[in-house]
Symmetry: C2
Subunit: 444 residues, 2 copies
């Protein structure tokens, strides 16, 4: 058996190794581990099911526990696991027991923490990746004095202990207590009286953005992160939440402007990088714009007989694009701050129909006399009606696309201005030429 | 004299009253005040110069001080001052002495606080308007125990005391001390050893956004607000800072989409409101679009002889608009997060020239064979060269306009997509038709 494991470790055949370990007793696994170096111990431990891992960890004596923790943090172990393909790694790394996870993360420098969070099996962009491990939890049975005493003499950042996790003997999160409450309370008050039990908390696998938005909306200084069994792992502090929201806004702004977000600051990104991020979308947009070429070709006869119609094409597409992008940006923002949800789609459509129609009437009435005077009244009528039609249509398209995007799991910001305006361009031209053909029938 | 003041108060001639008060002695002013009702006391006090106000306040006994504070908070007084025209009010209301201002704000409900901040003379959108008055300041001479004792038994929110202001006997801010430092320090440690003297602070008249961004960038839990003499007034807490930054982002997103920001959530705003916020900009944009009509008219002969040129007009303006909006959104965002400043304008231009040229070459090379095959090679060449020219030009325009906007004090977000694309439309058409005239000379 021992030989088998040696070989499997040698070959890095972690999948088979995991199956082998399933059939062994807790004691046998612990024995196997004690005979190996720290990196190998870590590999074996990490491949155990969660329940088994807890049992093994508890079976080990304190020295071996410390040794294992060292192994789990070692660069050799990280190198080994991080060279596995992403899928394999995600499949192999189950959730680490909370007590071990929290101890592993504590006191690590931030850059190592990112790698470690990956090793702990928390998915990319998850709350587990950004949580701050907090070395101090308050026992639910403590008094105010006992809790405060626990903090004395330690190097603790203000934002890490402004809110303290209160846990029971199994590390289950039972509530949070504010440092201010501990400080201002009367002597002898039990922590259980001071704590807030209806506390917000997220799982380590939850999306970072969801966690960050919760911090913002509930005005929290810190949000507890727990594992699937509700055991306390760490905190997401308000400064980290702000940073995530800021990154998120940057991504939205780039997408809204029609390009992929940059990973580094504008002035330090290479020119080639800038071009690449934008080029992808510009290509998509120019291919979509082929639609407009088709529409224009289709109405070429109409254009040839009334050349003045061409004169207004940029104004028609421009106005459609602008009205559409206004609607899209309102709805994208409303989605981002949770004011609108995909199920509100009919409400949004009905609003946008009315807003677009109002805008169209307003602008149409304004431009009609000018165009009628300079060209002739029929051209004026074509333009006025086109503006009404295109504003209404553009508002509907602009309002609906972000909602559909959210529904199908695409970032709604992608459907801001450039994409919307390119889509509205072609359909807007159809509206324009159709109206022209009817009104100018005698001239064609 | 007393009669004169009666009459001036009656007539609400605060300007003359202010001049009258300048000529009176401190004792005379205090005497005048003691003979009047609380609202009138408040008016007189509020019209005094700052130095005089401090003197008068100190001259009053404790009972009269309390009476005056009551008057300053009274609805009658607020009504009186708030009915004055804005300019008058701003001119009349000098900065309130810090000790009085802080005492006035404390314990007020949030809605009353907004009005009070206005009465205190802090301009709209200023830090003073959103600061939280903090009833507890720590004396620089205190020990850790004395400071903690001061907090005992009080109803204090966590975020209001996570960071505490340390002041001297004249209420001058000398530093801040973290609650965590007080809690974790050894017995008897003087506050002066625990406090951070190189602390960030803003004046009450500073822009809210500047203050909020400082909170974010320096990862603060609270930012002290001081008056012009550096006396402590209150704190801007991290949750308020987050809210301001969020509003600011919402404004930017709306402006980037080409409309004025809504004051209420999308679904609760009236349709008319939505239309009004967008209509203003849509009008500006359609008027600007008249430029494109002019350009098209100017090249009408060219269009009439080669009708196929009209076919590509939406693609030309669309691509220009998209490239411009990509550049604009990058630079607007970089400005918002302080990665780029107006003085970087030449760096930005040089980057955008290269990015735009690269994008143009890439797209131009891609579309040339298709157009050459379907139409003819000269049309293909016109389009390819136009795309190179228009991408380069659009990137420059999109990159530069937000910087100019910031320089002249306009929100750079205004120059995102719709405005940039409308401006690029007209100039892009000039590029298009000029290239066409040269290459297609034989066909015209």
């Amino acid at each position: 058996m021992g030989h088998g494991i040696d070989e499997l470790l040698e070959r890095r055949d972690v999948a088979t190794l995991q199956v082998e370990l399933k059939d062994m007793t807790t004691v046998a696994v612990a024995d196997e581990m004690s005979r190996r170096n720290t990196a190998e111990q870590a590999v074996i431990f990490r491949l155990l099911d969660k329940d088994r891992a807890v049992q093994v960890f508890e079976y080990l004596d304190v020295t071996h526990q410390a040794e294992l923790l060292t192994g789990l943090r070692e660069a050799r172990f990280a190198d080994l696991l991080l060279t596995l393909p992403d899928d394999d790694r995600a499949q192999l790394l189950g959730e680490m027991p909370a007590a071990v996870a929290a101890r592993m993360m504590t006191d690590l420098p931030t850059d190592r923490r990112t790698v470690t969070a990956e090793l702990l099996g928390y998915p990319a962009e998850s709350a587990g990746r950004i949580m701050t491990p907090v070395p101090t939890v308050i026992d639910v049975g403590n008094s105010r004095e006992q809790a405060l005493k626990k903090l004395r003499g330690r190097q603790l950042r203000n934002r890490d202990i402004a809110v303290l996790a209160v846990t029971d003997s199994t590390r289950q999160l039972v509530g949070v207590v504010n440092l201010a409450s501990l400080v201002t309370a009367a002597d002898g008050t039990p922590v259980s009286e001071l704590m807030n039990v209806e506390t917000h908390a997220v799982r380590a696998t939850e999306d970072q953005e969801v966690a960050a938005r919760l911090v913002q909306e509930a005005d929290l200084l810190a949000l507890p992160v727990v594992d699937h069994e509700g055991r306390f792992l760490g905190m997401i502090t308000v400064d980290d939440a702000m940073e995530i929201l800021e990154q998120e806004v940057t991504e939205d702004v780039y997408r809204a402007g029609g390009s992929e977000p940059l990973k580094q600051p504008y002035l330090t990104a290479t020119v080639f990088d800038l071009a690449r991020k934008r080029g992808v979308w510009l290509l998509v947009l120019i291919v979509t714009a082929v639609l407009t070429v088709n529409v224009m070709s289709f109405f070429e006869d109409t254009l040839a007989s009334v050349v003045v119609l061409a004169t207004f094409v940029p104004m028609v597409t421009g106005t459609g694009g602008n009205a559409g992008s206004q609607a899209a940006s309102s709805v994208v923002r409303a989605l981002a701050v949770d004011e609108v949800r995909p199920r509100d789609i009919w409400k949004v459509i009905w609003r946008e129909i009315r807003v677009g129609f109002l805008l169209g009437i307003f602008l149409g009435a304004l431009i009609f006399p000018f165009i009628a005077l300079i060209y002739e009244w029929r051209i004026g009528a074509v333009m006025a009606l086109t503006i009404v039609g295109i504003c209404t249509w553009a508002c509907i398209v602009g309002g609906v696309l972000p909602l559909i995007a959210r529904k199908i799991g695409v970032d709604p910001a992608v459907f801001s201005t450039p994409v919307v305006s390119t889509l509205v361009d072609a359909t807007g031209l159809v509206i324009y030429f159709s109206i022209a053909q009817v009104i100018l029938a005698s001239m064609l």
